[in-house]
């Protein structure tokens, strides 16, 4: 890369820097994102503003281009990696400064499935949107979900599957919740490449989320509806 094209992040105005960070996120430039986050914090930005305006907004552009077939999985993963690096700086500061909390989610890939790229993206974007996320990882049996629901008392249960052979296990979990009279206590969101809205409805989920951005918007809508119902 030619030196004359190098951009000195610290010399940019706040608005320029945020736009540059969106570009850097798009290009998966982890070190530039770390530098940008640090600069904005040094300029007195709150960790919450850095997160939402620089990182989440940037990642939303990445998500939209992925949905439209402009970006592919590798590019999204590189962008996610860069965002994760920025969030690692912000996370402890967010805890100290008391960022708004949207709700809590327990999420995991279902039993028999080890694929976690989509789930990890959802976790990260949910955290970015102000949700507390408890990630159970991969290959989760129904008992593991139940244990986490009882311990963590989340608003949302998220389940992910990449395989057509493992996605029916989501119904096992939902049916178990129904049997135990716990189904109505949680918003259940499901996602994964072979799923669709029809499948989500058929197994009794509250919503199927086609990507991380949709998961965040759906979670916000359903949590706010749930809170309103509780108030009424």
């Amino acid at each position: 890369m030619a030196d004359e094209e190098d951009i000195i992040l610290s010399e940019l105005s706040d608005d320029e820097l945020v736009l540059q960070m969106h570009d850097d996120l798009y290009d998966g430039l982890k070190e530039e994102i770390e530098e940008g986050v640090t600069i904005l914090l040094e300029r007195g930005w709150t960790p919450y503003d850095v997160l939402t305006k620089a990182l989440v907004e940037g990642m939303t552009i990445v998500g939209a281009d992925f949905r439209d077939g402009i970006l592919f999985v590798p590019e999204v993963l590189l962008a996610a990696n860069a965002m994760k690096a920025g969030m690692a700086i912000l996370k402890p500061l967010l805890a100290e400064t008391g960022a708004p909390r949207m709700g809590k989610m327990v999420i995991g890939t279902v039993k028999g499935d080890i694929h976690d790229i989509g789930k990890n993206l959802v976790s990260m974007m949910m955290e970015g949107a102000g949700f507390e996320v408890v990630d159970l990882g991969i290959n989760n049996a129904v008992e593991k979900y139940l244990e986490a629901l009882e311990t963590e008392k989340p608003d949302i249960l998220g389940m992910s599957a990449l395989l057509t052979t493992t996605m029916p296990y989501m119904k096992v979990v939902i049916d178990t919740l129904k049997e135990k009279g716990m189904r109505e206590d949680y918003i259940v969101l499901v996602g994964g490449a072979p799923l669709n809205e029809e499948f989500g409805r058929a197994i009794g989920a509250d919503a199927y989320c086609r990507d991380a951005a949709v998961a965040v918007e759906t979670a916000k809508t359903l949590v706010s509806r749930k809170h309103n119902q509780m108030k009424a």
């Binding site: 993963l77 590189l78 080890i114 790229i117 057509t164 052979t165 996605m167 490449a193 072979p194």
Partner: protein
Amino acid sequence: MIHSPDDRVLTEQGLTAERGGRILAIACGALAHEILALKAVNGWDHLDLQCLPANLHLWPDRIPAAVEEAVKKRKDAYEAVYVLYADCGTGGQLLHKCKKLGVEMLEGPHCYSFFEGNVLFAEKAETEITAFYLTDFLVRQFDAFVWRPMGFDRHPELIPMMFGNYTKLVYQAQTDDPALDAKAADCAARLGLAYERRLTGYGDLETSLRRFAAT
């Protein structure tokens, strides 16, 4: 008669339909060599083969529409049409489409399952969830289907992000080919996975095709 179609063509364009038979098999390009081998050895000259591009697997949601288009285009010219795809990540959409079109397709979730035998594969499923499978075709086309689309040629740091939960690569060999064995072992090494070779032959593909050909 079509001999040894080029893998790259099968990946990107598929295989133009043969003509002259009374039964048509519309298949994934990744199965072309195996189907043509079975045709040759069994003398199934009444079975024509058309293949859709194998790289449709990179976008499984496009498979049902592509199959529908091919079936509609050729159905009237044949006594019977069969779809040689398994579910292949379509989440039941391909089966739904085939039922609507009135054509039969292969059983099973994917080719790894029917090559091994659907029953046997399902039995092993719980103990093999960390296995990544390759067939003869995918070993030959590893760079086109795995290495380049996953961006590993440009960003090797993505390998642990995408393959970190896998422990071994299982090469399901349809043919006994030492060169493919060596290439598959190399694929495993590049992904940082243990390697196992399993000679499956054509598995349930052969059983189903035999039944279809007897129509």
